[in-house]
Amino acid sequence: MPSKNVKLMQGNEACVEGALAAGMKFFAGYPITPSTEIAEISAQRLPRVGGKFIQMEDEIAGMAATIGGSLAGLKSMTATSGPGFSLKQENIGYAMLTEIPCVIVDVQRGGPSTGLPTAPSQSDVMQAKWGTHGDHPVIALTPSSIRETYDLTIQAFNFAEKYRTPVFLMLDEIIGHMREKIEIPDPSEIEIFDRVTPDESEKESYKAYDNNLEVPKMAAFGEGFRFHVTGLMHDEFGFPKNDTTVTEVLMSRIMGKIENNLDDIILYDEYYTEDMDLLILSYGGTVRSVLSAAREAQRAGKKVGVFKVKTLWPFPEKRITELSKTVNKILVAEMNLGQYFYEVDRVAGKNCEVSLLGKANGEPITPTEVRNKIEEVL
C-alpha cells in the first residue's frame, strides 16, 4: 500500500473518525440501523481519547444527554435514523432555541414509521428542515463519499461551534454502509473551530444570550458563570420572558446568525456546468449514480451538468437561481418522492423546466435509470 494514510473505510466509521478529528469528546445515543456502527465505534474510540460514551434508554434521552454534554463544554454528537430522528425532535427544537452546539447524524432508511430498516432512502430531507415546530435555524449537510463524510463531519462540528447551533449530518444507508478508499488527511491540514468562551474577567457581567453579538459567547456549566437555560423565550441571562419585544430580538438573532452567513455555510460542487443542455441536481448516495450517468453522457457528447448539493439547508437558492437562467431543463434525482424537487422548482421553475426522478421503494436510483431519464428529458 502507498505510504500515505490510505484505508478501506465504511461511511459510518468515517463519520466517527471525522468527529474525533474535530474534537468530539462526548457521544450519547440509542442504537438504530443503519446508524448503529457510529455508536459502536464511538464506544470503542472515545474512552481512548479521554472522552465519554453513553447509551441512553431511548432516542429522546440520547438527544437530551447530547445537549447536556455540550452545555458542560464538550463537543457532542448523537446518531440515529429516521424513526429515531422523529423521536428526538422535541429536544432538537430545545437545542435550537437554547443555542447548543452539537451534531446530530441521521443515516436515512426507508420510511415512514419503522419502514425498511436496512434499505436506503433520502426521505428525511424535509424532516431536517421542519421536523421540530416553530421557526428555527437549520444547518443540514449531506456527504456523497467516504472522504466527504469525514470532511463534512468535521465541517458539521465547525458550523455547530461557530454558530452555536445544532447541525444535522444527513447520511443515507448507501453512504453509511458502503466501504471505499479514503486518504485520511494529516491533522495539520484540518481546520478546527472551537466555540468562543467568555474570559474570567467577564464572570460578573456574563450574558449567555448577549444580543449585541450575532453568536453569544458560551460558558460551560460548572465553571462559575451564572446563566439559565430554558425552552421558553428568554432574556440575555437565559431567564424566561413572556414578552413580544424580547421574543422578536431573540428570534431575529437566532435566524440571522444563519441567514447572514449563507456564503460561509452553503457548500456544493459543480461538474460540467459551463455549457449544458440539462442540469441534474442531486445529493448523497444518489449523486453517485448521477455522476456515473453524466460521465457516460459527456463521453457520448451530451451536455449534461451536475450540481451536487452538500449543504441541503439553508437552501442554495442563489446559485440554483443563477444556474436556472443558463439551462433549459433541470432534473432533480433523489430517493424520496420530491422533497427537494419542490424547493428547486420554487426557485428555478420560473426560469426553466424542472422535473423529478424520485424513488422510495428501498432501492437506490441506478445509473441506468438516470441514463433513461436523460434520454427522455433531452
Partner: protein, 180 residues
C-alpha cells in the same frame, strides 16, 4: 475503457461473506486499485439471504452497487436462484458442490467446486469457507494478486488463526487449478 470487475458473494447470513468482501476490497487497495464494498442483508443476524458486493476498478467508481456481475459466488440454492439472472453472459459462476444449478445451456463459465466441504475436511473448520472462496476467486480471475490477498486476509483474521487461514487460501487456489 476502464478495467472494472464486479463480484457478488452470496449465501446465507453467518457464512462470513461480508468479511470476505471487505478482505477482497482491501486486497485491491493493496494492489493500488480502487475498490468499493457494499452489502445487503435482512433484519436477521444469522440465516436469511446475505450478499456482499465488491467492485474493483482502475478508474473512479461512482455507483457502489452491482447492476450485472462479472463473478458470482453462490453458497446456497436460494442465492443462486436470486442472483443468477444478473450474471453477465461472459461472467463466471462459482457454485458450491452441494448446490444444484439448473441444467440449461449457458454462455457464462461454471466452476462447481466443494468450497464448504474443503473448508470442513481439508482445512478442518467450516468457518473458513469464506477464505477458501477468496482463494477460488483469486485463482479464477486474478483480479487481485496472491500477495495482496494473503496480506489482506492476515490483517483481518483473529490472532492465532493465521496458519489456518493461509491453508484455506491455498486450498482455494488448488480447487480451481484441479478443476477441469
Amino acid at each position: 475503457m476502464a478495467n472494472r470487475t464486479e463480484i457478488r458473494l452470496t449465501g446465507s447470513g453467518g457464512q462470513g461473506l461480508i468479511l470476505a468482501g471487505i478482505i477482497l476490497a482491501e486486497a485491491a487497495l493493496l494492489d493500488d486499485l480502487n475498490a468499493i464494498q457494499s452489502q445487503s442483508y435482512g433484519p436477521e443476524a444469522r440465516g436469511g439471504a446475505s450478499k456482499a458486493e465488491v467492485i474493483i476498478s482502475d478508474e473512479e467508481i461512482f455507483y457502489p452497487k452491482i447492476q450485472n456481475s462479472d463473478v458470482l459466488l453462490c453458497l446456497t440454492r436460494e442465492s443462486y436462484c436470486k442472483y443468477i439472472p444478473d450474471l453477465k453472459d461472459d461472467g463466471i459462476l462459482i457454485i458450491d458442490s452441494d448446490v444444484d444449478f439448473d441444467n440449461i445451456e449457458t454462455s457464462y463459465k461454471i466452476i462447481q467446486i466443494p468450497v464448504i466441504e474443503t473448508a470442513t475436511h481439508e482445512v478442518g473448520k467450516s468457518m473458513v469457507a469464506n477464505i477458501v472462496a477468496l482463494g477460488v476467486i483469486q485463482q479464477a480471475t486474478t483480479v487481485v494478486t496472491k500477495e495482496s490477498l494473503e496480506q489482506a486476509v492476515l490483517k483481518r483474521v483473529p490472532p492465532g488463526t493465521q496458519e489456518l487461514n493461509r491453508l484455506a487460501l491455498q486450498e482455494g487456489y488448488k480447487l480451481v487449478s484441479n478443476h477441469t
